[in-house]
């Protein structure tokens, strides 16, 4: 059949290119580990136990660890689908070449998102092992932590790619930092939602990372609740929306 699942070869291209740049891999996963040690454990020594929004009392480090797992999934995806995607889209014109073949814009989008997931998935897995070794994994539900990390990654990859199609130059990536940085700090990552006034809580709740953090916290602590269904749905919809938007934009930019 003509043009069946050609995203496989977008992925193949990334795997071949990656063999020469494997060391770039390191940067993405060390950051959340550093946060876990410095904030979670270091700062955590000065902080009393934390009561989660679900009413569970745990050590501060155990509170922060699931959030860092969610953040590591986000970081992996954002790195690939913003900077790397932009370079291929605008400068090396990798996708112009692909679109001269039977490959379609959504093959490009799906292939690149899957690649970022492989990368993000490895970061998350390494982080998970660290968290497990340090005793921050408290439940068998945690076997779902890696699939959940992939879902978080997919949501950020889709939206990140879509946003990147609107970037005009490297300067515009300041906006990515401007969005990601506060989201990383305020999505109930380092303190529970309850510390915010009611009026600000809804703002945190619309952030995608908040739902990723909630999901991982539930799984690692075994604190499952109905709100997690909403979080999963939120992330699925975000991923689908990003994929759809990114495909459309790739079409509009390159097939002119």
């Amino acid at each position: 059949m003509l043009g069946y699942a050609l995203w496989r070869f977008v992925l193949l291209r990334d795997v071949l290119a990656f063999k020469r740049m494997w060391w770039l891999f390191l940067s993405g996963f060390v950051e959340p580990v550093f946060y876990l040690f410095s904030i979670g454990i270091g700062l955590g020594a000065l902080v009393n136990d934390v009561t989660t929004d679900q009413g569970m009392v745990i050590s501060y480090a155990a509170f922060v660890a699931p959030a860092m797992l969610a953040a590591s999934a986000m970081n992996g995806s954002i790195a690939d689908t913003t900077y790397n995607f932009f370079a291929k889209l605008k400068f090396s014109k990798t996708y112009d070449t692909m679109l001269a073949t039977p490959a379609r814009p959504w093959d490009v989008a799906i292939g690149e998102i899957l690649w970022s997931l492989i990368r993000g998935g490895v970061y998350s897995a390494i982080f998970f092992v660290v968290a497990l070794a340090m005793g921050f994994v408290r439940s068998w539900w945690a076997v779902l932590a890696i699939p959940a990390a992939l879902l978080i990654g997919a949501a950020f990859a889709g939206v990140g790619m879509w946003a990147t199609t609107y970037m005009r130059s490297w300067k515009d990536f300041e906006f990515v930092t401007l969005v990601i940085q506060p989201m990383f700090l305020f999505s109930a990552t380092f303190f529970p939602l309850a510390v915010y006034p009611e009026s600000l809580q809804w703002l945190v709740k619309v952030m995608p990372l908040y739902h990723g953090v909630e999901l991982q916290r539930g799984l690692l602590l075994g604190d499952m609740h109905g709100g997690l269904v909403v979080s999963v749905l939120y992330l699925v919809v975000l991923c689908a929306l990003g994929l759809w938007g990114a495909s459309r934009r790739i079409s509009r930019l390159l097939l002119t």
């Binding site: 003509l2 071949l16 290119a17 090396s92 112009d96 070449t97 073949t101 039977p102």
Partner: protein, 309 residues
């Protein structure tokens, strides 16, 4: 559509906002021929090629490639095309042979098939020794040959070459022309855009002269020269900044005259006779050169401008 027509365009138009890049052209390309679009930069050649390559939607008019409409059958068309874009657009993060492997997989070739095909094509492109090298270390001519090799991975029935030798040195150009001749002999239909008249004369069986998005003339290189020019041309240069001032003194010699900033061209079937006539009038020239007419002269006659500014 007749079975041997690989491409037909009727009133084909491409607009970008208010700008009309291709202005209602009619073209037919038959199986097995080498067809050229000759014109200066900005004539609409690349826009036409992108529409033919099914990577750029048609604004209006009709376009059929292999009898298929690119709007509805882009994938089917692309599967049977070879595409050499103007910029090399190789994957600099991959090796020479990886570039071929990955590209071939998009056409549905298996891993074994792309490897076998890549080996053949690297031989054809004289790049076998460089197969494992990174692309960025290749010379301009090698890169261009690799792009052509890549475009052949799916055994295309129709090969699109957008400015295939622009930016190459004379030796690299001749190697490339040789490869394109071989393809033509193997029966591959070629569509070539160029702003080099010698390239068009060497490679094309038939061509259209394009200017400002429209077709100014169509025919074989020989026909076009016979129709729009004389057999020979005398290029006359004076020791002066303004060659226009000498136009009057030369009038009546040859059939026609073109005054350029740096020389005057006299069109005559017998160039030596025209040179003799200049000498008879006692005109003091810096140099006179008799040459055969080329497509450059055709273009100049049709548009009043030279191909390369």
């Amino acid at each position: 559509m007749a079975p041997d027509l690989l491409l037909t365009a009727r009133n084909l138009t491409k607009k970008f906002g208010d700008f009309t890049a291709v202005d209602g052209i009619d073209v037919e390309v038959r199986k097995g021929e080498a067809f050229g679009f000759l014109g200066p930069n900005g004539a609409g050649k690349s826009s036409t090629m992108r529409m033919v390559g099914a990577v750029s939607p048609v604004t209006s008019g009709e376009l059929r490639i292999f009898g298929l409409d690119p709007e509805t059958h882009a994938q089917q068309i692309k599967a049977r095309l070879g595409n050499c874009p103007q910029k090399d657009l190789l994957d600099e993060e991959l090796s020479v042979e990886e570039n071929l492997w990955v590209y071939g997989r998009f056409f549905g070739l298996s891993k074994a098939e792309v490897r076998e095909r890549a080996t053949e094509l690297l031989e054809f492109a004289q790049l076998t020794e460089r197969r494992a090298d990174k692309v960025e270390h290749l010379s301009g001519g090698m890169k261009r040959r690799l792009v052509i090799a890549r475009s052949l991975i799916n055994n295309p029935e129709l090969l699109l070459l957008d400015e295939p030798t622009t930016g190459l040195d004379p030796q690299a150009r001749h190697i490339l022309w040789d490869r394109l001749f071989r393809l033509k002999r193997q029966g591959v239909t070629l569509i070539i855009t160029t702003h080099y008249m010698d390239e068009a004369e060497q490679l094309c069986d038939r061509l259209v002269v394009m200017d400002k998005g429209a077709i100014a003339a169509e025919g074989s290189p020989k026909d076009l020269i016979a129709r729009y020019s004389t057999r020979e041309v005398v290029e006359v240069r004076f020791d002066a900044d303004d060659h226009g001032a000498f136009a009057d003194s030369l009038s009546g010699i040859g059939e026609r005259m073109e005054v350029l900033p740096d020389r005057i061209l006299l069109y005559a079937d017998d160039g030596d006779a025209a040179t003799a006539a200049i000498a008879d009038r006692g005109i003091d020239t810096l140099s006179t050169l008799v040459r055969r007419s080329t497509l450059e002269d055709v273009f100049l006659h049709l548009t009043g401008r030279t191909l390369i500014d």
